[in-house]
Amino acid sequence: MSGYANWVALRTIVTKEVLRFSRIWIQTILPPVITMGLYFIIFGGLIGSRIGEMEGIRYMDFIVPGLIMMAVITNSYSNVVSSFYSAKFQRHLEEMLVSPVPNYLIILGFVAGGICRGLAVGVAVTLISMIFSPLSIHNLAITLSVVLLTATLFALAGLINGVFARSFDDISIVPTFILTPLTYLGGVFYSITLLPEFWQGASMLNPILYMVNAFRYGFLGVADIGLATSYGIIIGFVVLLYGVALFLLNKGVGIRN
């Protein structure tokens, strides 16, 4: 297709995806906002007031970036995995497969949908956080670029999960057993400097740690890990996962018999 036709096709997929989660905002946007609000009240407000400071920062202020990032990660992932698998399950993915939309545009369309939901929830959580902690951004460019790259990474991961999923159970296994533990252990609630040396080393194997830290740096100007390392890890994973997703779609894995 021509460049313009490709643009129309991409816009169509993205619009469809955004409309999909917007129509059911009570299921897609509201729950994570309520959950994060509870985190702010319980961990930040009630418990946090007894913890005092973390890395020289008020505990409530410390957890805000991590909780926003947690919401972005889970929502960008779950949007794409559920949307892609539903499209497979109901077979309306075939609408795209019979049309001349290149596979890379299908990936970009679904991923953009995931990014939009991740960012929509991220913005909503940020607004809620402002009730508990004044919004101060140390570096806007870093904050935005890290959140965008992270949403992209997890939207791609969700798509790959959707490609392989054969049942609705399969789309909840990764978020439940991998994503959630990695997120909780990724420095959302604490600085890894609090951990014993061995667990500090083990934490370095957790990619979410790099995203949370880079995002926290954008907000507060403090991080456990260097920015260059964080960007390198995030971009490396984005490129790797995009390559895997494109390979799977080109081969027709899970979508073409």
């Binding site: 297709m1 021509s2 313009y4 036709a5 490709n6 129309v8 096709a9 816009r11 169509t12 997929i13 619009t15 469809k16 409309l19 129509r23 539903s86 499209a87 109901q90 077979r91 309306h92 075939e94 609408e95 795209m96 497969l97 019979v98 049309s99 001349p100 939309v101 290149p102 027709g252 073409r256 018999n257």
Partner: protein, 311 residues
């Protein structure tokens, strides 16, 4: 001018070892209304799914209006519209969005897409339902929605896989009229159906597939001419107590007001009525016992199985 659809030596073996297609050759001319018939599991849907790029082939080649699927996939896809056997749209989307989005996948700008969606939704009697969710449509409406969706990019080749399954006769007839009209406007149509009356009524050419092989590929007229004997049911005006013996026809007594008559192709129906008249039998009405194509279809499938063509 290239064939609307050209399939050469197409094979498909699934991962479990099942050989669904065993070397299919098929050509459909531009402007044709072609019936692809076969019993369940014969390979019709596999063939269609390969043509529509929904199933990977194991071997052979497919081209649509000269565009080879292996070399010129996107150009081939642009020429094709597909109405699959099973509903495959998002039931939680409004009807009009399903059609407009499909246009978008073909790169048709939004404004033009809305115009085309209106055109086809009106023509297929779905305009009043355009704002409603697709899940609220009846079975017949869902089938028509899939036709509107398949036509929105104005394909040169339209493949319909059992488009009238489960549709009442009134809607089926209106769909026939619609399909005849778009065929008249130049769209090549390939139809699979289990309603053989439908294929006989609509299609000019026919292919019969069984066990992954094409066992017949000819014109509808030519195929129907192969039928040597037709069976008619005769409704009589007055009760008949004894079955007469006619020299050129085989009669069977169904009940006192109904007879079945086998009429050979080289014997005229006039002769049958002359003979019945001579016996004092008055016929009130008559009809074919089974659809002619159905009779031939069953003969061919049975024959291909008995002669081991499919082995």
């Amino acid at each position: 001018m290239p064939h609307a659809l050209s399939i050469q030596n197409l094979t498909k073996t699934y991962k479990n070892g099942f050989e669904a297609l065993k070397g299919i050759d098929l050509q459909v001319e531009p402007g044709d209304f072609y019936a692809l018939l076969g019993p369940n599991g014969a390979g019709k849907s596999t063939t269609i799914s390969i043509v529509a790029s929904l199933v990977n082939k194991s071997g052979g080649s497919v081209s649509i209006f000269g565009h080879d699927l292996d070399k010129d996939l996107y150009a081939a896809k642009r020429c094709l519209g597909l109405v699959p056997q099973e509903f495959n749209f998002n039931v939680f989307e409004p009807v009009e969005e399903i059609v407009v989005n499909q246009a978008g996948y073909y790169g048709i700008p939004r404004k033009e897409a809305w115009k085309r969606a209106e055109k086809y939704l009106v023509e297929l009697g779905l305009w009043d339902k355009r704002k409603g969710m697709a899940r609220l449509l009846s079975g017949g409406m869902k089938r028509r929605l899939m036709i509107a969706r398949a036509l929105v990019h104005e394909p040169r080749l339209l493949i319909l896989d059992e488009p009238t399954a489960g549709v009442d006769i009134e809607i089926r007839r209106s769909m026939w009229t619609f399909l005849r009209e778009i065929n008249r406007q130049g769209c090549t149509i390939i139809l699979t159906t289990h309603y053989l009356e439908e294929a006989e009524s609509l299609c000019r050419n026919i292919g019969i597939i069984d066990h992954g092989r094409i066992i017949e590929n000819t014109t509808m007229k030519g195929l129907l001419n192969q039928l040597n004997t037709e069976t008619f049911i005769l409704d009589l005006s007055q009760p008949l107590m004894q079955l007469p013996t006619l020299p050129q026809h085989r009669l069977r007594w169904v009940d006192e007001l109904t007879l079945e008559a086998d009429v050979d192709r080289d014997v005229s129906l006039n002769q049958l009525f002359v003979d019945l008249n001579r016996e004092g039998i008055q016929v009130r009405s008559m009809r074919n016992k089974t659809n002619r194509l159905e009779q031939l279809f069953m003969n061919m499938v049975d024959e291909s199985r008995n002669t081991g063509v499919t082995a």
